[in-house]
């Protein structure tokens, strides 16, 4: 991959392109296995560091 590109989605995850791995808070390295990955920023995902869509139910219950 030539370059790393990160994009923030409104009320959603970071879309990361061109990464080989994402390192979480504990320093564990999670290899990237798809062309684009969604990285959790709401801290609610059950699959961190990856987004699992939980931010949507969080927003629903908050409103």
């Amino acid at each position: 991959m030539s370059s790393l590109r990160v994009r923030a989605c409104p009320h959603g995850p970071l879309l990361v392109r061109g990464a080989d791995a994402v390192v979480d808070e504990e320093g564990t390295e999670h290899p990237v296995t798809r062309p684009v990955v969604a990285v959790c920023v709401c801290d609610r995902s059950a699959r961190k560091p990856w987004c699992d869509g939980t931010h949507k139910s969080v927003r629903t219950s908050a409103t």
């Binding site: 409104p10 798809r34 684009v36 699992d52 949507k56 139910s57």
Partner: protein, 330 residues
């Protein structure tokens, strides 16, 4: 694939055409829902399949047979009319809310209060019910993303790039063993079901056929391009959280080996919903703001069909358990 058995006058005549005969394909307008009419949906599915992988021994030229194309257009007209009527309020509500197309699409899916099928599959469904669910979805999932591949040559610029990126992932990202269709076939095998393409066409409900047929209708008619993109976005957006629940349900009844397909879709669709809603549909609407209602129409179709399909399954299961209380108790 062999031609599946017809289930009514219309699908019988389509099968006759495929067998080399020439029955009249005139349709008289029926009463009631065409989405829920299994004969209509099977007839449509048979005609569409000629544009995918076809049937053993059936003349390849029938894909563009004028009589079959005319019948297809006639049935599509009825399906589209029913869908437009059923989704009108949802589309108008979303348009009133206004705002960014990506937000509108994701919000529409999020606000949807459909029947709690995924929650039921996670907590309560029996092993045969989970198998039934896998079987019903198989007709659609074994050709996952194929209908949307027809959208690609009709898009340009950013929307085309985004759809291609998304489909590359759906089609295995360069690794045949990751092809989503193959992952679904593996789930079927793990649940002691037939992984053959089209193996359960003869068994599934009208709604399961309608669900895949609507994708083909959007894919094969360029005038419905924007609806096809909106449909794809809503389809992806309504999949991540249910996939997690379904995977948990499969684990619960011991079908652990059937879960990887759904596990894969938790993470994949969290990505895909963003790309489909914000990049594919976002670029499409930026290019042609007038197509926003069509994008929303396509999205609303997913929610309408999913609700009908979930209701059908849950009603059927409730009736089965009511009929066989002693079996359940033993």
């Amino acid at each position: 694939m062999e031609i599946p058995p017809p289930c009514g006058p219309l699908s019988t005549r389509v099968v006759e055409v495929m067998s080399g005969r020439r029955p009249s394909l005139e349709v008289t307008s029926g009463q009631g829902s065409v989405l829920n009419d299994r004969d209509v949906q099977l007839a449509l599915w048979l005609i569409y399949e000629l544009s995918y992988r076809g049937f053993d021994g059936v003349d390849l030229a029938l894909e563009w047979d004028p009589d079959l194309v005319r019948l297809r257009l006639r049935l599509e007209q009825a399906v589209e009319h029913e869908l437009r009527t059923a989704t009108q309020a949802r589309v108008e509500n979303a348009l009133e809310n206004g705002g960014d197309v990506g937000d509108l699409l994701l919000q529409m899916v999020q606000d949807d209060q459909g029947p709690p099928l995924a929650a039921y599959l996670r907590r309560d469904a029996t092993l045969p019910q989970l198998q039934d669910f896998l079987r019903e979805r198989s007709v659609q999932q074994l050709k996952e993303s194929d209908p949307q591949a027809f959208l690609l040559p009709r898009l340009r610029g950013e929307a085309k790039v985004a759809l291609a990126e998304l489909q590359y992932d759906e089609f295995g990202a360069g690794r045949p063993e990751r092809l989503h269709q193959t992952l679904y076939a593996q789930s079927l095998v793990a649940a002691w079901l037939d992984p053959g393409y089209g193996a359960y066409v003869a068994d599934v409900s009208a709604m399961s056929l309608a669900s895949t047929n609507v994708m083909s209708m959007f894919g094969l008619n360029r005038r419905l391009l924007a609806a096809g993109c909106g449909h794809f976005a809503a389809f992806e957006a309504s999949s991540a959280i249910p996939s997690r629940r379904i995977a948990a349900g499969l684990d619960r009844v011991g079908l652990v080996a059937a879960a990887p397909y759904f596990d894969e879709h938790v993470e994949a669709d969290a990505v895909h919903e963003q790309i489909a809603a914000r990049d594919v549909c976002g670029a499409l609407v930026a290019d042609d703001p007038g197509c926003l209602p069509e994008v929303l129409f396509g999205a609303a179709c997913v929610l309408h069909i999913d609700a009908l399909s979930a209701t059908e399954l849950m009603t059927r299961w409730a009736a089965e358990s009511a009929e066989a209380p002693t079996e359940v108790a033993s």
